[in-house]
Amino acid sequence: MKLIWDLFFTFLKIGSFTFGGGLAMLPLIRKAAVEEKGWMTEDEITDCFAIGQSLPGVLAINSAIYIGNRTKGILGSIAATLGVILPAFVSIVVILLFLGKIENNLYVLGAFEGIKAASAALISVAAYKMGKQILKGKLEFFIVIVAFAIIVFAAISAIWAIVFGGLAGLSAYLYRRKKGGTS
């Protein structure tokens, strides 16, 4: 029982002090799980992040489920997940409770405009950095452009962009395998 609370509070702390998305949480999760609590080894946490990144869903949540399950089974994974999502949940509910009253305040509206512009910029930088890492060949470029066009110009569901990417990756692999014989 003590371990369950420990998982909950550790992830509550991680969820409370990271802003602007899950990637910022990874170093904190690693530090807590490996160095401070000794729940996992370096190798295990690397596996955990690799799996968390390849599966759909929120990386921080995937990692919480993995670490919780490894440490204390299903209950552990539920405790860790609750911990990591609670701050995000509570803060939005609290803000919405008050926002109704100050929504039309000029300062609040101005702050929103400023943050929106900054968010667009921060997301651009994120796309650029991610692109630089991932876009290594013609196939990758082709997939990015098609995925972008599907959403912006064709207004088709973003799900199809994901499905397209997966199929393109698979066909390229099967084609290479067929061409290169057995490998």
Partner: protein, 190 residues
């Protein structure tokens, strides 16, 4: 009014098809809320702004926001559970079949194709946000090309360029930049 069950299904679907982190989820979340007619584009861009200044994963912020607007705290809880549940099922399953997962080359090929697609998704989220902040209207339109001046919001544009420079070139942290932009916005744009 849409039953709360649909809210659950909607976010379950979002959780199931979101690869590549919070930013890559934005297009799918926006398309879904559009489809159900829950939220306007302006309100959605506000949601993105809010999730930058609140702790935790953007997907949870978004699920809470949409669910709350639609059906109060209960709705917020249902959406959040919906967006989290696919992770539970998938992570626990994969942990069970770890070896097979690691060895499957076809699976890695599929994931290798999905990764660049998420970059496209994130780029499309930029266009959406830009159209609702630094521009006012669709970027890829005849009107925009003819009347570019009227489409550009000057101050947000300056904040946009400044943020790109500070984040991209000088590695200033996103939290500092977001707070700074909020203060500038409150004092100048209003």
């Amino acid at each position: 009014m849409m039953p709360i069950f649909n809210l659950f299904i909607m976010f379950f679907r979002i959780g199931l098809f979101s690869f590549g982190g919070g930013y890559a989820m934005l297009p799918l979340i926006f398309q879904s809320v559009q489809e159900f007619g829950i939220m306007t584009a302006v309100e959605f861009s506000r949601l993105v702004a809010l999730s930058q200044v609140t702790p935790g994963p953007i997907a949870v912020n978004a699920a809470t926001y949409v669910g709350y607007q639609y059906a109060g705290v209960g709705g917020a809880a249902v959406s959040t559970i919906g967006v989290t549940l696919p992770s539970f099922i998938l992570v626990l399953t994969v942990m069970h079949f770890m070896k097979k997962f690691e060895e499957s080359k076809s699976l890695h090929a599929v994931l290798g194709g999905i990764r660049p697609a998420t970059v496209g998704l994130i780029a499309s989220a930029v266009i959406f946000l830009a159209e609702n902040s630094i521009f006012n209207g669709p970027v890829f339109s005849v009107g925009f090309i003819e009347n570019a001046k009227e489409y550009i919001n000057l101050l947000p544009c300056i904040i946009f360029i400044g943020t790109i420079l500070l984040a991209g070139k000088f590695n200033v942290g996103p939290i500092k930049l977001t707070i700074l932009a909020g203060i500038i916005g409150a004092l100048v744009i209003r």
